[in-house]
């Protein structure tokens, strides 16, 4: 067997952090399988550069994860992106009267956003980073983070509008309408 260039450190690190990283990867990609592929690709890159990363290897891994996601590391084609959207569509409740939690609806909408917008929102609201910290992770100017975030949120509201229009029954829609109303005053 070949040598482990991390000297076992990666195993120890993953014992503590793997589940959280996996959840992040799933949020970035929208599915368990794609999330696993993304995380493994990022880990392989971490191993490759292990010795030249000084200090914050977790930070490097996080940056790699997000940058791979935003770079479209899987070179997902138009058809696959469309399939992802279709898959997301099918995850909507067949029965508009079904109880759909607004939280679930927001995540479904989040997964329909372009990946750069999604990555910014995941960093901001899942990782809890500030705009400046988000900019540092992605290696973008802070202004780009702000504008991308704003576009993502605007898109979220637009999609939420569509969701509410199609499903104007039930608790989720009422809640979305409430959100839109409040958003206009935010």
């Amino acid at each position: 067997m070949a040598a482990d260039p991390t000297g076992g450190e990666l195993e120890s690190f993953l014992a503590e952090r793997a589940d959280r990283l996996m959840r992040t990867a799933v949020l970035l990609t929208g599915s368990h399988d794609a999330g696993q592929d993304l995380l493994q690709t990022a880990l392989e890159r971490l191993i490759r550069h292990w010795r030249r990363i000084d200090g914050d290897r977790e930070g490097y891994l996080l940056r790699t994860l997000y940058n791979l996601a935003t770079d479209g590391y899987r070179r997902r084609g138009r058809l696959q992106r469309k399939l992802l959207l279709l898959k997301t569509e099918t995850q909507r409740p067949a029965d508009p009267m079904a109880e759909v939690d607004l939280r679930d609806a927001l995540v479904r909408i989040l997964l329909q956003l372009p990946v750069r917008q999604r990555a910014v929102l995941v960093l901001r609201y899942w990782e809890g980073l500030t705009e400046a910290e988000t900019a540092a992770v992605l290696g973008w100017p802070e202004g780009t983070v702000k504008s991308t975030s704003a576009r993502g949120l605007r898109r979220l509201r637009e999609l939420a509008d569509g969701w509410g229009g199609e499903h104007n029954h039930g608790r989720a829609d009422a809640a979305l309408a409430h959100v839109r109303l409040r958003g206009q005053h935010a």
């Binding site: 070949a2 959840r23 392989e44 979220l156």
Partner: protein, 322 residues
């Protein structure tokens, strides 16, 4: 977006992923991806950078103790001619069993079909130190089990490249079918230092190597009690690519290999290869592989062994992600 929705979005993301768990062996799999990349492809990528003309003289070992230069030349010429003539009709199934520093594996090949299965080592490598580095860990209960299969599969009648990882129950398919590069190329010669030789038409392969000088017939030795003709590859040394060089802390790699062929059929019965990295802070590190080859009749059952089968219930992922 107001604070309520931020909180709702956070809650939604928590809920969406609350049952998500990282699969076991994530580090191991990433390590394997890494090893596959650096040990086979990345190292070879460096070959384009600097190919060093290795002036290592290949000792010509003569058959039956002949010593005169003229006799040596004649013997080598005879062996070369015999090999080139004899491998003309190798309509047999190749079954290679390899043991080496990368663990055991098996290769079955016939025509353009091949199946290369890697197994976990059947001995415990945990915490074993080689060249100052700890060898990669793996679950002890997996000892001796198949880890992955790579080669060709028939999908709807079409031959496709296939790769299966058994512990993860995943597979990928691609249009690219694995083949062995000619040993006349630097890449092909470097590949000869590794465990798998797949998709080889041995007639043209040996023919080509002898013709271009990438290998020479160098004598006769006994393997497993039977006499064989030894064909020695010309050692190849390349400077490693900068990325790989940092990983293994070495600047150079030298690959050496030898074929031992049956003197009657002139089909290979043993392939030995070694890859040595050196010239960096890690010092010299040598990995070696020894493949014993059996040639089986091309029965339906034997040919079936040369195809990768995808177990039921495995899910497909993109090539490169499996």
């Amino acid at each position: 977006m107001n604070t309520d929705v931020e909180d709702l979005l956070r809650d939604g993301m928590e809920r969406f992923t609350e049952n998500v768990r990282a699969p076991a062996g994530l580090a191991r799999e990433a390590g394997r991806l890494h090893r596959r990349r650096v040990a086979v492809r990345a190292a070879l990528a460096g070959s384009a950078a600097t190919v060093v003309a290795v002036s290592a003289a290949i000792a010509v070992i003569t058959a039956a103790g002949a010593t005169a230069g003229r006799t040596q030349a004649q013997t080598v010429a005879d062996l070369t001619r015999q090999v080139r003539q004899a491998v003309a009709g190798d309509d047999m199934v190749y079954a290679g069993s390899t043991n080496g520093t990368d663990g055991p594996n098996m290769v079955w090949a016939y025509g353009g079909q091949s199946r290369w299965v890697e197994y976990w080592p059947d001995t415990d490598f945990r915490n074993r130190i080689v060249s100052g580095q700890r060898l990669w860990d793996f679950p002890p209960q997996d000892r001796g089990l198949a880890y992955s299969a790579e080669g060709t599969a028939r999908v709807g009648g079409t031959l496709m490249g296939a790769y299966v990882i058994y512990p993860d129950r995943r597979y990928s398919l691609s249009r690219q079918v694995p083949t062995q590069d000619s040993a006349c190329t630097t890449t092909g010669a470097l590949e000869m230092g590794g465990p798998a030789v797949v998709g080889v038409n041995w007639k043209s392969f040996i023919d080509e190597m002898l013709a271009c000088g990438a290998a020479s017939a160098t004598g006769r030795v006994r393997v497993n009690g039977a006499e064989t003709t030894k064909i020695t590859g010309k050692p190849v040394t390349v400077r490693l690519s900068p990325g790989y060089s940092k990983v293994v802390r070495a600047d150079w790699v030298t690959v050496r290999w030898t074929l031992y062929v049956n003197p009657k059929t002139y089909l290979p019965v043993r392939i030995a290869g070694s890859t040595e990295t050196y010239g960096g802070s890690a010092g010299a590190s040598l990995s070696s592989e020894m493949t014993n080859v059996r040639w089986l009749p091309p029965t339906k059952a034997n040919i079936a062994k040369t195809l990768v089968t995808i177990p039921a219930g495995f899910h497909r992922v993109s090539p490169g992600d499996a």
